[in-house]
Symmetry: C2
Subunit: 150 residues, 2 copies
C-alpha cells in the first residue's frame, strides 16, 4: 500500500479551514509552484468537525499581509498557523479588511480604476461570508472575486 | 505542532514521480476541484532517490486513458498506481502515445486543425523527455504544451 508520508515541518505556514475546493486558488495567490522550491502539501475535501475543508502547508515561508488579505476574500474562515522550529509560533484567523485596496481588478472596463488615471482599485465589503464586495467608484460587484485578484 | 494526517485510501489513484512543479497542471487536467468531492492530496517538491518530485492522490477515482495521455505530455516519468480495497491493484508508467490526437490545440491560428474543417488536432513526438511535439499539419511546435491541452 502506497502511503504519503507527511512529516512535521520545521518552519513555514499552515493555512487551515480553507473553503473546500478553494485550495488551488490559494496556491495561485501564493504563486505556487513558481515561487518556491520547498515542500508544499495540499489536502482537499478533508472531513472536519465543521464540515469539509481544504488545507495548504508551505515550508520555509511566512505570508505577507497582502497575501493574507487576498486569502480572506476567497476563504473567509481560514486560519493561518505560522510554524517556527516545529512549534506553532502564531495562529490567527484571516480577517476581511474594511476596504479592499489594490488587490482586486474591477470587472467594469470603463471604471476609473481601469483607466490611465493614477487611481488604485478600491472595494467596499457588502457581505462577509461568502465575501461580496463592490467597487467604491462604479459600484460594480465582481461575480468571481478569485478570478479578479491581481 | 500541527500535523496533516494522511491516511491510506481505500480506492483511488496515486500519481507518483510527477515532474516537480507540475502537480497543479495535473490537477487542471483532472478538472480538480470541480470534478470531485472526494479527498485529494498533493505533495510538491518532495525529495526522492531520483531527485525532487510531486505526488497527487485522488480518492474514489480511476483515470481514463485520455487523462493518462495528457499527463504523459507534462510529466513523462509519472507512474499511475490504482488502489482498490487498500491494495495497489495496478501500477504502470505513463507512456507517450506515438501520436497525440485531439488533446492539444495547435498554437498556429491558421492551422487547418483550428479551421472550421472537421480536422482533429494531431501532433508527432519530437522528443520524449521533456516531451516536445510538432503539429502533423503545419509543423508548429507549441512552446508550453500544458497551456495548450484541451
Amino acid at each position: 500500500m502506497k502511503k504519503l508520508k507527511i512529516t512535521p515541518i520545521k518552519n513555514g505556514t499552515v493555512i487551515d479551514h480553507i473553503t473546500p475546493g478553494v485550495a488551488v486558488k490559494v496556491l495561485h495567490i501564493l504563486k505556487i509552484p513558481e515561487s518556491t522550491s520547498s515542500v508544499v502539501s495540499v489536502a482537499m475535501n478533508v472531513q472536519s468537525r465543521m464540515g469539509k475543508k481544504d488545507i495548504v502547508k508551505v515550508e520555509n515561508r511566512e505570508l505577507d499581509p497582502k497575501e493574507v488579505d487576498k486569502i480572506s476574500l476567497i476563504a473567509p474562515k481560514a486560519t493561518i498557523n505560522i510554524i517556527r522550529n516545529f512549534e506553532v509560533a502564531e495562529k490567527h484567523k484571516v480577517q476581511l479588511p474594511d476596504e479592499v485596496i489594490g488587490i482586486v481588478k474591477c470587472s467594469n472596463p470603463t471604471c476609473i480604476s481601469n483607466s490611465k488615471e493614477p487611481v488604485q482599485s478600491r472595494f467596499l465589503i457588502v457581505d462577509k461570508d461568502p465575501p461580496r464586495i463592490k467597487c467604491y467608484y462604479c459600484e460594480r460587484e465582481p461575480e468571481d472575486i478569485a478570478e479578479r485578484i491581481t
